[in-house]
C-alpha cells in the first residue's frame, strides 16, 4: 500500500507535459496505461467480456430449466453455474462497467486532465483479470468451482464445500482490492480535481452518484473481505466464527454478508441513477428537475442502506422487534427512491422529448426499474416475505433491478457516450433493433418469474414441479432471445469503434456538460488546462 502512495505524485502535472503523439501503442499502451480513457476502455471491454461469459452461464441455466427433469447437467454443476453466474455478473460485469464509465467520464465531466492516481488506476484494473481467471479456473478443477450461491452462506461454504473454496476466497479478495482502489481514486479525483468554479452543487449528477457510491464501496468492500477471510479461516485454520460447536453462529455470517450486501445493491444502482439523470434532461431539452433533492435522495439512500440488511434474513428467526424495525426501515427506502422517479418524470413533463437510443433505454429503465422497486417494496413486508423469500419472485425482483436497472442504464450510457469516445455515430437502426429486442425479450424472460415465484417455485433448483413447466419454457425462450440480442449490441459497438458517420463535439445538441466541449473522439489528453466554470 505504501508503494501505491507514490502514485499520487504524478497526478496531472505530468500529463500536461506529455505530447499527444507520444502515446504508446499496442501492448504497452494497454498494459502500462495510466490514461483514464484507455483504462476506462479496458474496464468496459472487460465488463462486456464478463457479461458474455456470465450470460453464457445464464443460457446454460435456462437451457436446463427449459423442461422439467434433468437434461444437460448434474445438479452439482448447476449449482456452480448459479453461483459463478451471480459472482461474474455482480463483480465482473456490472461493477467494472460502472468503474469504466467513471474512468472515462468523471475527468471529462469535472474538467480534470486525468484521474488523480493514474498508476493505481492501472493496478486496480489489471488485477481484475487474475481474479476472474482464478474464479473461472476453479470450475475446471476436480470438484469444480464454488457451488454455494454467490451469497456463500456458511456452513455450506465452509465445512461442506470442497477444497477449491480457497480459490474463490482469493478471487473475491482481489476483486475487493480492485474495487477499493477504484473507489479511492474516484473520491480523490472528485474532491481534488474539479475545475475551478465547479462547486458541489454545480457538480454533475453522475459525478455525485459516483462519489457516494465510492464511499459506500470503501465502507463495505472491506467487510466483504473480512467475511471471506473468516470463511477461509473457518475452513482451513480451525476457527469457529460460523460454527455453533465452537461458540459461533452460522447466522452471523449472514449478518456480516448482508451488512456488505445491501449497500452493494446500491453500489450497483446509484451510478445508474446518475446516468439516467444525465440522459433524461438531454433528450427532454429541459434541466433536470429537482437537482438538489436528487443529491439529497442519493445521500439518504446510501445512509439508509446500512440499516436494512436484515430484510434479507427474515426467515432466519429473529425477535419480533427486529422484524418490525427492518420492515419499516426497508419501506422507508422507497421514499427517496420514489423522489428520484418523480423527478425524472417531472423532467420529462412539458419537455421537448425525442427518442434517441440512449433515451429509449432511459425510459425503459424508469419503467422497469420501478417495477423492480415495487416488488422490492412487497418483499419488505415481513409477513409476505415469508412467502416470497427464496422464490423466483425474488429472482424476478433483483433481475428487474439489476438487468433492466443497472445493465439498461449502462447500455444507455454506452450509447450516449460512445460517439464521444469513438468519434462516430453508431448504426442507429441496428441500435434501435437491439433496444426493442432487448426490451421485449427481457420482459418475457423476467416477468413470468414473478408468477412462478408466487406460485411457489424456490430459487436455485435445477429441476421443478410440473405446474411450473409452461412458464419456465416461456422464461427460457425469453432468456435465449435476450442473450442473442446482446450479440447485436457487441456488433453495434464494434462497428461504431471501427468507423461510421463523424460526429461533432456536442453529439446530442441539447446535451449539457463539459464532456461535450471536447472534440469527438475525445483526444488522448483533455483539459490540460482546467476550464473555468461560471
Amino acid at each position: 500500500m505504501t508503494g501505491a502512495a507514490d502514485n499520487t505524485q504524478d497526478s496531472y502535472p505530468q500529463a500536461t507535459e506529455q505530447h499527444e503523439h507520444h502515446a504508446p501503442t499496442g501492448f504497452k499502451r494497454w498494459f502500462f496505461s495510466t490514461n483514464h480513457k484507455d483504462i476506462g476502455t479496458l474496464y468496459l471491454g472487460f465488463s462486456l467480456l464478463m457479461f458474455l461469459i456470465g450470460g453464457a452461464m445464464a443460457m446454460l441455466i435456462r437451457a436446463e430449466l427449459f423442461q422439467p427433469g434433468l437434461q444437460l447437467m448434474e445438479p452439482h454443476f448447476y449449482n456452480q453455474m448459479v453461483t459463478v453466474h451471480g459472482l461474474i455478473m455482480v463483480f465482473g460485469a456490472v461493477m467494472p462497467a460502472f468503474v469504466g464509465l467513471a474512468n472515462w467520464m468523471i475527468p471529462l465531466m469535472i474538467g480534470a486532465p486525468d484521474m488523480a492516481l493514474p498508476r493505481m488506476n492501472n493496478w486496480s484494473f489489471w488485477i481484475l483479470p487474475f481474479a476472474f481467471a482464478m474464479l473461472l479456473g476453479s470450475l475446471f478443477m476436480e470438484g469444480g468451482g464454488p457451488a454455494f450461491g454467490w451469497t456463500f452462506y456458511a456452513p455450506l461454504s465452509t465445512t461442506y464445500s470442497n477444497d477449491n473454496t480457497a480459490m474463490f476466497v482469493f478471487a473475491v479478495h482481489i476483486m475487493g482490492i480492485s474495487s477499493i482502489m477504484g473507489a479511492i481514486n474516484v473520491i480523490v479525483t472528485i474532491v481534488n480535481l474539479r475545475a475551478p468554479g465547479m462547486t458541489w452543487m454545480k457538480t454533475p449528477m453522475f459525478v455525485w452518484t459516483w462519489l457516494i457510491t465510492a464511499f459506500l464501496l470503501i465502507a463495505v468492500m472491506p467487510v466483504l473481505a473480512g467475511a471471506v477471510t473468516m470463511v477461509l479461516t473457518d475452513k482451513y485454520f480451525g476457527t469457529d466464527f460460523f460454527n455453533a460447536v465452537g461458540g459461533g453462529d452460522p447466522v452471523m455470517f449472514q449478518h456480516i454478508f448482508w451488512f456488505f450486501g445491501h449497500p452493494e445493491v446500491y453500489i450497483m444502482i446509484l451510478p445508474a441513477f446518475g446516468i439516467i439523470s444525465t440522459i433524461v434532461p438531454t433528450f427532454s431539452r429541459k434541466k433536470l428537475f429537482g437537482y438538489h433533492s436528487m443529491v439529497y435522495a442519493t445521500g439518504s439512500i446510501a445512509i439508509l442502506s446500512f440499516v436494512v440488511w436484515m430484510h434479507h434474513m427474515f426467515t432466519t428467526g429473529m425477535p419480533l422487534a427486529a422484524e418490525l424495525f427492518f420492515m419499516y426501515s426497508t419501506m422507508l427506502i422507497s421514499v427517496p427512491t420514489g423522489v428520484k422517479i418523480f423527478n425524472w418524470v417531472a423532467t420529462m413533463w412539458r419537455g421537448a422529448i425525442s427518442f434517441e437510443v440512449p433515451m429509449l433505454f432511459a425510459i425503459a429503465f424508469i419503467v422497469l426499474f420501478t417495477i423492480g422497486g415495487f416488488s422490492g417494496l412487497m418483499l419488505a413486508i415481513t409477513p409476505a416475505d415469508f412467502q416470497y423469500h427464496d422464490t423466483y419472485f425474488v429472482v424476478a425482483h433483483f433481475h428487474y433491478v439489476l438487468v433492466t436497472g443497472a445493465v439498461f442504464s449502462i447500455m444507455a450510457g454506452v450509447y450516449y457516450w460512445l460517439p464521444k469516445w469513438s468519434g462516430h455515430m453508431f448504426d442507429i437502426r441496428l441500435a434501435k433493433t437491439h433496444f426493442w429486442l432487448s426490451l421485449i425479450s427481457v420482459n418475457i424472460l423476467f416477468f413470468p418469474m414473478h408468477f412462478v415465484g408466487l406460485a411457489g417455485m424456490p430459487r436455485r433448483i435445477p429441476d421443478y414441479a410440473l405446474q411450473f413447466a409452461d412458464f419456465n419454457a416461456i422464461i427460457s425462450i425469453g432468456g435465449f432471445a435476450f442473450g442473442l440480442s446482446q450479440l447485436l449490441f457487441v456488433w453495434v459497438v464494434l462497428k461504431c469503434v471501427r468507423g461510421g458517420e463523424k460526429v461533432p463535439a456536442n453529439v446530442w445538441q441539447a446535451a449539457e456538460g463539459l464532456e461535450w466541449d471536447v472534440p469527438s473522439p475525445a483526444p488522448h489528453h483533455t483539459f490540460a488546462t482546467p476550464p473555468v466554470i461560471k
Binding site: P68, G69, Q71, P75, H76, E142, G143, P155, L156, T159, Y160, N243, A244, V251, S284, K286, F289, G290, S293, T315, T316, G317, L320, M327, S334, G338, V339, F342, N343, V345, A346, T347, W349, R350, G351, I353, I363, V367, T370, F374, L377, M378, I381, P383, A384, F386, Q387, D390, F451, L454, A455, G456, P458, R460, I461, P462, D463, A465, L466, D470
Partner: protein, 526 residues
C-alpha cells in the same frame, strides 16, 4: 374511463375475488395466517399497481404529447419545493397505511405459545426428519425420515412424470386440523429452510440453533412444499409433504405409528437372529443403495471426484469391515456423510454394506448379517446397573459458594420494640418470605434438590436444636450456597421464616421463634 376506474376500484376493495390459488399468484392457503398474508400481498400489490398507473400514466402522457417531433417547446421550470415536499410526504402516508396490517399479521405469526402438538423438524442433506414431541401434553416418541419418492428414472426423463413429480415423499408429515401445531426447526448440517406455502411458513433450519413456527390448519388435505435455502447438490430434491387430517383420523394414525414402532423393534430383534443369503442381501442392498446413497456416490459407485468419494475400489469399501461399518453407522463429522444407524433397519444396513463390498467389481466376497450391525451399534451391551453416573453437582455447590453477602441489607427500618407474634402470623409471613428468599434452592415443598441443595423437610438441622438452625440461617454455611441472612432480612422476617421451616411440610416441631430471639442471637454474637 369511469368504467375502468370503477372496475379497478372494485378489484382494489375486494382482493379476495381475484386470482387466489391460480398458477399465477400466491396461495390463500389453509390457515388463518396464510389467508391474512395473502390478503396483505394483494393489498400491497394493488396499491403498487395504483401508484404505477398514476406515475406511468403521467409519464406516457408526457411522452405522447410533449414530443419534439410535434414541435412542443420545452418549459423552463426545474424545481418546486412545494411539489417536492408533497411527493415525499404522500408516499410516507401510503407506507404507513401498508405497515399497519403488516404489523398486525406479523404479531399473530410470532405467537408460538400454547400449542396442542409439537413437532421437531430437522433438515439434513437432503431429507427431512420429523419427530413428534408432544400431543395434548402427552409425551410422544414417534419419529421418521421423509425422503423424496420420485423415482430417479422420472428425474432423468426415462419415465413419464407423475403429477406430483418432485413434490412427493415416502412418509409425509401428518398433522391434525384445528389444532395449533408448533414446529421446532433445526438442522443437522447446513442451513435448510422448511417451507409449506399453504401454511405461510418458511423458517430456516440452522445447525446448532432452533427456530419456531406454528400453524392451525383449517382444512383436511395434502399440502406440498420444498426446501427453500440452497443446501448443496440436491437442494431441489427435498420436498415437504404434510397430510392434514381430522383429529380422529390423526389419533388412529398415531396409534398405528406407535404399534409400527414396536413392530419395528421386534423385527429388528428377529432379523438379528436370521441369516440372509448373499443374493437376498445384494438385491435389497442395491435397492437401498439407489434410494439412499446413489445421489452422492452415484449409481455406478464412482462418486463425484473432488466432492463425493468413489466407493468403487475404495479403501473403505474394500478394506477393514469395521471401518466400513463405522462410517455407515456413524457418518463422518464435517462431511455430507451422515449417520445411517437410525435411518435404516438392521437388515437394510447389512444389505447395503454387503452390496457396497461386492458391487462394481469390489468383489470382496464379504457377507454382512444384521447381527453384525447390531453388535457394531451396541459395542458393550453393558447392564444398566453398571452405567456410570457422572454428576457434577459438587461443582454446582462450589460454583455458588462465592455468592457474597453483597446483597444490600433490606431491613425494614423498624426501631420499635419487637412485638410478639402469634403462630398464625409467623407462619403466614414465614411462608411468604420463605418462597421469596429460600424456595429457589430449597424448593417450595422443602425437598431441596438432591445432592445440590439439601432438603429442609425432616432435616436434622430444622428438626434439631433451634440455636443450630438460627446459626446457619443468620451466618450461612461457608463453602456452600447457603448465605448469611442476618444482614439481608429483618428480625421479623427471619423469625417468620425459621418458624415456618420448623413447622411446615410435616416438620411440626411446634417451635415458635420470635423476632426478639433473633435480635438476641445477633447481639449474642457481637
Amino acid at each position: 374511463m369511469i368504467v375502468i376506474r370503477a372496475a379497478f376500484l372494485s378489484i382494489l376493495l375486494s382482493p379476495q375475488l381475484s386470482f387466489a390459488n391460480s398458477a399465477f399468484n400466491m396461495r390463500g392457503g389453509v390457515t388463518d395466517i396464510s389467508e391474512d398474508v395473502y390478503q396483505l400481498h394483494m393489498t400491497i400489490f394493488l396499491i403498487c399497481c395504483a401508484i404505477a398507473l398514476v406515475v406511468f400514466g403521467i409519464m406516457f402522457w408526457s411522452i405522447f404529447h410533449h414530443r419534439k417531433s410535434k414541435g412542443f417547446k420545452p418549459a423552463q421550470f426545474h424545481e418546486s419545493t412545494k411539489i417536492e415536499v408533497l411527493w415525499t410526504a404522500i408516499p410516507f402516508v401510503i407506507l404507513i397505511a401498508m405497515a399497519i396490517p403488516a404489523t398486525k399479521t406479523l404479531i399473530a405469526m410470532e405467537d408460538n405459545s400454547k400449542a396442542d402438538i409439537t413437532i421437531k423438524v430437522t433438515g439434513s442433506q437432503w431429507k427431512w426428519h420429523y419427530q413428534y414431541l408432544s400431543y395434548n401434553n402427552e409425551i410422544l416418541d414417534i419419529d421418521f425420515y421423509s425422503v423424496i419418492s420420485t423415482p430417479q428414472a422420472q428425474i432423468n426423463n426415462q419415465a413419464e412424470k407423475t403429477p406430483t413429480y418432485l413434490l412427493e415423499v415416502d412418509k409425509p408429515l401428518v398433522v391434525p386440523i384445528n389444532k395449533k401445531v408448533r414446529f421446532v426447526i433445526t438442522s443437522d448440517d447446513v442451513i435448510h429452510s422448511w417451507w409449506v406455502p399453504d401454511f405461510a411458513i418458511k423458517q430456516d433450519a440452522v445447525p446448532g440453533f432452533i427456530n419456531e413456527a406454528w400453524a392451525r390448519v383449517n382444512e383436511i388435505g395434502i399440502y406440498r412444499g420444498q426446501c427453500a435455502e440452497l443446501c448443496g447438490k440436491n437442494h431441489g430434491f427435498m420436498p415437504i409433504v404434510v397430510n392434514a387430517m381430522t383429529e380422529n383420523d390423526f389419533d388412529d394414525w398415531l396409534a398405528q405409528a406407535k404399534i409400527a414402532k414396536q413392530n419395528e423393534a421386534q423385527e429388528a430383534l428377529a432379523s438379528q437372529s436370521t441369516s440372509f443369503s448373499k443374493e437376498e442381501l445384494m438385491t435389497l442392498g442395491e435397492q437401498v443403495y439407489v434410494g439412499n446413497c446413489s445421489v452422492c456416490h452415484q449409481p455406478t459407485g464412482a462418486g463425484l471426484p473432488g466432492v463425493f468419494p468413489a466407493l468403487k475400489g475404495s479403501a473403505i469399501a474394500m478394506g477393514d469391515l469395521d471401518a466400513h461399518l463405522d462410517i455407515v453407522l456413524n457418518g463422518k463429522a464435517g462431511t455430507a456423510m451422515q449417520s445411517f444407524a437410525k435411518q435404516l433397519s438392521l437388515k437394510e444396513l447389512a444389505a447395503i454394506i454387503t452390496y457396497e463390498r461386492n458391487a462394481w467389481g469390489n468383489n470382496t466376497g464379504d457377507l454382512v448379517q444384521p447381527i453384525q450391525i447390531s453388535d457394531a451399534m451396541n459395542p458393550q451391551e453393558s447392564d444398566p446397573a453398571q452405567a456410570a453416573i457422572k454428576t457434577s453437582q459438587a461443582v454446582a455447590v462450589e460454583a455458588v459458594e462465592d455468592i457474597k453477602e453483597a446483597v444490600p441489607a433490606n431491613k425494614t427500618t423498624q426501631d420499635l420494640p419487637l412485638s410478639k407474634l402469634t403462630k398464625g402470623q409467623l407462619m403466614t409471613s414465614g411462608e411468604q418470605h420463605y418462597l421469596t428468599f429460600c424456595a429457589a434452592c430449597h424448593q417450595p415443598n422443602g425437598l431441596g434438590i438432591p445432592s445440590a441443595f439439601p432438603a429442609l423437610k425432616d432435616s436434622p438441622i430444622v428438626k434439631g436444636a433451634v440455636s443450630e438452625h438460627l446459626n446457619i440461617v443468620l451466618k450461612g454455611k461457608a463453602g456452600t450456597a447457603m448465605q448469611a441472612f442476618a444482614q439481608q432480612l429483618s428480625a421479623e422476617q427471619l423469625a417468620a421464616i425459621i418458624t415456618y421451616e420448623r413447622n411446615a411440610w410435616g416438620n411440626e416441631s411446634g417451635d415458635l421463634v420470635q423476632p426478639n430471639d433473633i435480635e438476641q442471637a445477633i447481639k449474642g454474637e457481637q
